[in-house]
């Protein structure tokens, strides 16, 4: 019985860094298919795979709850923060989430500033929130606290 487990554990331990690298690659998806949601779910899938193979205790140690809560809220802060920044920077002339009215327009033209903001700021924020949410959901549904044996 332990022989079979050795094969599975070694395979999963070898595959995990490649899955996470692919997840980060897909997250900045403006040159091809991809985007924030897809990359976030692939990152969450790597942690879920670790939790399935090695047990829920070690899985929760690899992704502790304080980090999950921090990433969940921080992703949302980034998204709404960029929206508030556009209102404050143009002193009320531009609308909420009008990406042309930020600090980047002083250095590069309008179109390139919009491209940079979409690919590098907004999608990473969405990816963080989605990944942390799915990890937290899975471990909450699976967790067994041993008070009466059943949770």
């Amino acid at each position: 019985m332990s022989d079979v487990n050795v094969v599975i554990k070694t395979t999963v331990r070898t595959m995990l860094p490649f899955i996470q690298l692919y997840g980060f690659y897909v997250m900045t998806g403006t040159e091809g298919a991809g985007g924030g949601f897809q990359g976030g779910v692939i990152l969450a899938a790597s942690f879920i795979l670790y939790g399935i193979t090695f047990g829920a205790e070690k899985g929760r140690q690899a992704a502790p709850e304080s980090w999950n809560t921090a990433f969940k809220s921080f992703g949302l802060w980034i998204y709404a923060g960029v929206g508030m920044l556009t209102i404050l920077y143009s002193l009320g002339r531009a609308e909420f989430l009008n990406y042309s009215a930020t600090f980047l327009s002083l250095f590069v033209p309008h179109t390139v500033a919009r491209g940079i903001l979409i690919a590098d700021v907004i999608e990473i924020g969405i990816g963080m929130t989605v990944a942390a949410s799915f990890i937290s959901l899975f471990f909450d549904l699976v967790w067994r606290s041993d008070e009466d044996g059943r949770s």
């Binding site: 091809g32 298919a33 985007g35 989605v130 959901l137 909450d140 549904l141 059943r150």
Partner: protein, 133 residues
Amino acid sequence: MDVAEMFLARYNYWSFVVLMLIGLYGAIAYGNLVKKIIGLSIFQTAIFLLFISLADVGKDIERTLGLKSGTAPIVWEKGIEEGYIYVNPVPHVLVLTGIVVAAATLALALALMIRIYREYGTLEEDELKELMG
């Protein structure tokens, strides 16, 4: 409208109707709560199929306009010169939002079912009606 036009040229709408009605029947007629959730999931994916099939372009284009078929909505200069046209990207955006919201509501429904089973010990609808009073 003759039979060929109503059934062969619009077969994607008929497949959407069949799948949606299977999901709806599963949500109404079965008593187990997990089967109801599965029926609702089939219903939701059938609706997304309707949106995506409205956006597709290019079934008879080779015959009528002399172009090749449609291609994915990513800008591709060489393809436009060869004669491909883009499919409609607006329904893709709406369906992406829909898929993610469907997954979130599924997770919440599962958490509610775990609490119900912990309290009452059963997942059938008729026994729950008697136990809840």
